[in-house]
């Protein structure tokens, strides 16, 4: 039992990082536009395929590939927002929500058109992943996993510093708090929302690369990812960024621990996540951090 613990922890960390990247985008978008973007998982899927296109098919070095994925995804986010969500900004939130489902379907169709419907993989024939054995062979970690963990940590830290200390970051938080007041201080709401989408889409795309590094690529891979990120956001308390990250870690750890240490088969992972979500919502109806925020407001 104990000997598999390091491996389970490592897998939990990987999964949590992936969910956190997607959940942050969801939370950022919800914080300002107050709708759940169901295309967020598909943004990740697109990221996975872009990396496949640039690096596996195109032969670019991986780090240029990641940079390209981030740039192309950010641009895609801005364009999608302008064309689809901006015209309905004043509508009730279920309208952009439904549109986001359509956007997801459209992205899937475009990727099938470009890459075909068959399952793809980053592991090419004959290539051997560099594997490190740690803790007396109980933990094996690949080079690419470590790299991607560093990329994720760097992105999260960068996002934190950006939101906390930069002028634009402060403006984003201000717009999330009160759009109308931010506007009368001269903040461009359109620009701010554009930035939010660029950041949210780019983070999701990196998550897509991470997940495709572990599993195969498929057109529908975004579905379960988006759903788990949504669960993380709700668990943490809607609108709270630290909440989204904590929620992602709770989900990443619990699904891997339960599957790793009990006889429950891994195909039940999603069921576990939702069981957990239901239980947590009974205990903390506002999410972990949402409740805290409300108490603070009352005090």
């Amino acid at each position: 039992m104990l000997e598999i613990l390091p491996q389970i922890i490592w897998f939990s960390l990987l999964a949590s990082a992936i969910y956190a990247l997607v959940a942050i985008g969801l939370s950022l978008i919800f914080g300002i536009l107050e709708f759940i973007n169901f295309a967020q998982g598909d943004f990740a899927m697109v990221g996975a395929y872009l990396f496949f296109g640039f690096v596996i098919e195109g032969g670019l070095p991986w780090w240029i590939g990641i940079a390209m994925v981030v740039i192309v995804a950010a641009l895609m986010g801005v364009v999608i927002e302008r064309i689809t969500f901006k015209p309905v900004r004043k509508s009730p939130p279920f309208i952009p929500l439904v549109i986001s489902i359509g956007v997801g379907a459209l992205l899937q169709a475009i990727m099938i058109f470009k890459f075909g419907g068959s399952v793809k993989s980053y592991r090419t024939e004959g290539s051997k992943a560099e594997v490190y054995k740690l803790f007396g062979d109980t933990l094996s970690v690949t080079q690419s996993q470590i790299t991607l963990m560093f990329v994720t940590a760097g992105l999260l830290l960068g996002l934190y510093l950006f939101l906390k200390y930069s002028k634009t970051g402060t403006a984003i938080r201000a717009v999330a708090d009160n759009q109308d007041v931010a506007a009368i201080l001269g903040v461009s709401i359109n620009k701010t929302i554009g930035i939010i989408f660029a950041v949210g889409t780019a983070l999701a795309a990196v998550a897509g690369v991470m997940i495709a590094n572990e599993q195969n690529l498929s057109i529908t891979m975004g579905l379960s990812l988006g759903v788990k990120a949504f669960a993380a956001v709700v668990l943490g308390g809607v609108g709270s960024l630290p909440g989204a990250i904590v929620g992602a870690f709770i989900i990443g750890f619990s699904e891997n621990f339960i599957v790793g240490l009990t006889p429950i088969p891994s195909s039940y992972k999603d069921a576990i996540v939702f069981g957990l979500l239901i239980i947590m919502l009974f205990l903390y109806p506002n999410g972990l951090f949402g409740a805290k925020a409300e108490e603070e407001a009352r005090a």
Binding site: A171, A176, D177, D180, A182
Partner: protein
Amino acid sequence: MLTISKLTANYGGPDILKNVNIHIKEGEIVTIIGPNGAGKSTILKSIFGMTNIVEGKINFYEENMVGVKTADVIKRGICYVPQGRSVFPSLTVEENLEMGAFIRSDKAQIKKDLHYVYEKFPKLYQRRHQKTKTMSGGEQQMVSIGRALMLQPQLLLLDEPSIGLAPKIVEEVFQKCKEIKQSGTAVLMVEQNANIALEYSDRGYVLELGENRLEGTGKELLSNKKVGELYLGK
């Protein structure tokens, strides 16, 4: 400094303001009073381009203000404190104030602006790292006013600054308005709390159903029998 003449405006529906005339001179506090739905706030929103202006003029030092972008209205020296709790609750006091100078990019100047506001509101300096959602309504109102003063505007627009505040705090807010006026910023405000507002005002306007009814100095309106009956509860 600001002249609104024959202003007719709406929000895309029926006209809220009809042929309204208002002006404010340098160094004045001017208050617009009137019942709910008289269109008082709409006047301030029109200055900030948030309404649909059908007819009339808004001039600030001879310059036309109709159709001017928000950022440009601010640049020309008009700042606005909207109604209700208009702070950014999850931001600290200092971040709130810095947002007031969003259109500036000169960091040294923003430091000076902060200094200027902290001098006027020493309490805000003590609490500059506190999140504004943890503050009382009165303190939040001070943050909103302080934020609007960051650019040291020539004209400050206040929409119901006393709303939801305890009487003692209301007095404090109006006292601040007086200080603001003395440091060279004219104040145009809209108030429900007509008694005390007129006491602190140089002049006032009574608005009813989107039209001018009466105007005069603060004292004149306070002693006007009709105004007393209708709005001052005398």
